[in-house]
């Protein structure tokens, strides 16, 4: 049997019967291992995500086993597939309905840049309408790549300040997208 790996505790002070660390670190760690993804799947990248969720690749190993089909309870918006311009306002609405803290992953070439659909009806990358934290390349990306994208978000969740939403940079970013 393989040895069970436990998460390393964050840096802090320990002594007999106590352990002290900062909220930033312990809450960031807790968040990073319970990211609830909202799969916004419109095409083939969504099929790859199904494989990622399945037993073989098993995204649950990373604490993301609870796909949330309501944006209100989701932490992580996974946009997978071609977003037509007509779909743009819908995607933005879903993003606005998500509560802070929230992260966005653009999975695949279409969500990242429009991909091969360089045409009048397709949004040339979702970063035209909502801020994106992590881009996963590929057409479509393999499940390993989607997991790598999730791990990048975990890294963000661990290292960001507890209330990223209050930083002036973040508010400026949202304002540039006309999101309050």
């Amino acid at each position: 049997m393989k040895p069970i790996k436990m998460v390393e505790p964050p840096a802090g002070h320990s002594g007999a019967g106590f352990f002290a660390t900062s909220f930033d670190q312990v809450i960031g760690m807790a968040r990073s291992y319970s990211l609830w993804p909202l799969p916004f799947a419109t095409s083939c990248c969504g099929i790859e995500f199904m494989a990622t969720m399945g037993a073989h690749y098993d995204i649950a190993r990373f604490g993301a086993e609870r796909p949330s089909f309501s944006p209100r309870q989701a932490d992580l918006l996974l946009v997978m597939g071609t977003i037509a311009k007509k779909m743009g306002p819908v995607l933005k609405q879903v993003y606005i309905q998500m509560a802070e803290p929230r992260w966005v992953v653009a999975v695949g070439a279409c969500a990242s840049s429009g991909g091969i659909f360089d045409t009048y009806s397709v949004l040339q990358g979702i970063d035209r309408i909502i801020p994106v934290d992590v881009y996963v390349p590929g057409c479509p990306p393999r499940p390993e790549q989607i997991i790598e994208g999730l791990m990048q978000v975990q890294e963000l969740a661990r290292n960001e300040s507890l209330r990223r939403r209050n930083t002036p940079e973040y508010q400026e970013l949202l304002a540039s997208y006309n999101i309050q």
Partner: protein, 166 residues
Amino acid sequence: MLNNKDVAEHIAEKFEGKVGEFEQPFDLLTFTASREIIIPLLTYLKEHPQYKIDFLTDITGIHYPDATGREFVVVYHLHSLINNFRVRIKVPLSKDDIHVPTATELYASANWMERETYDFFGIIFDGHPNLIRILNIEEMDYFPLRKEYPVEDATRRDKIDALFGR
């Protein structure tokens, strides 16, 4: 069974001077009709006791930017389900007057097909009950399938010609 030759001869006689350019690419009877008679023609084919060409398969448009005086064409595909006989009718239009009467009173299915043709080519179907865009975003201010626009999305800034060998 119907055959292209008999139907073509009958239509040419019945609508003399208003139809023409009969051909049969891939054995599909094809001819042009003027827009004044397109609705009477569709009605006639639908109600003809023998032909019964009463199913509207598709309405679409074509843009020929270099064909002066007939830049736009509206194409009707019809099917006789009883005789398994198909016919294609083209209605040429000038770009200064792209109006054609609606077929919605004859075929309810023409409603969305005509909206689509309007959406992509800007062809106005006179008398249509609700001629608005159906597939594209409402804010779109042009008709994308006209051959007047670059193929690639003009809002994209990351495509440098040198990278694409041009």
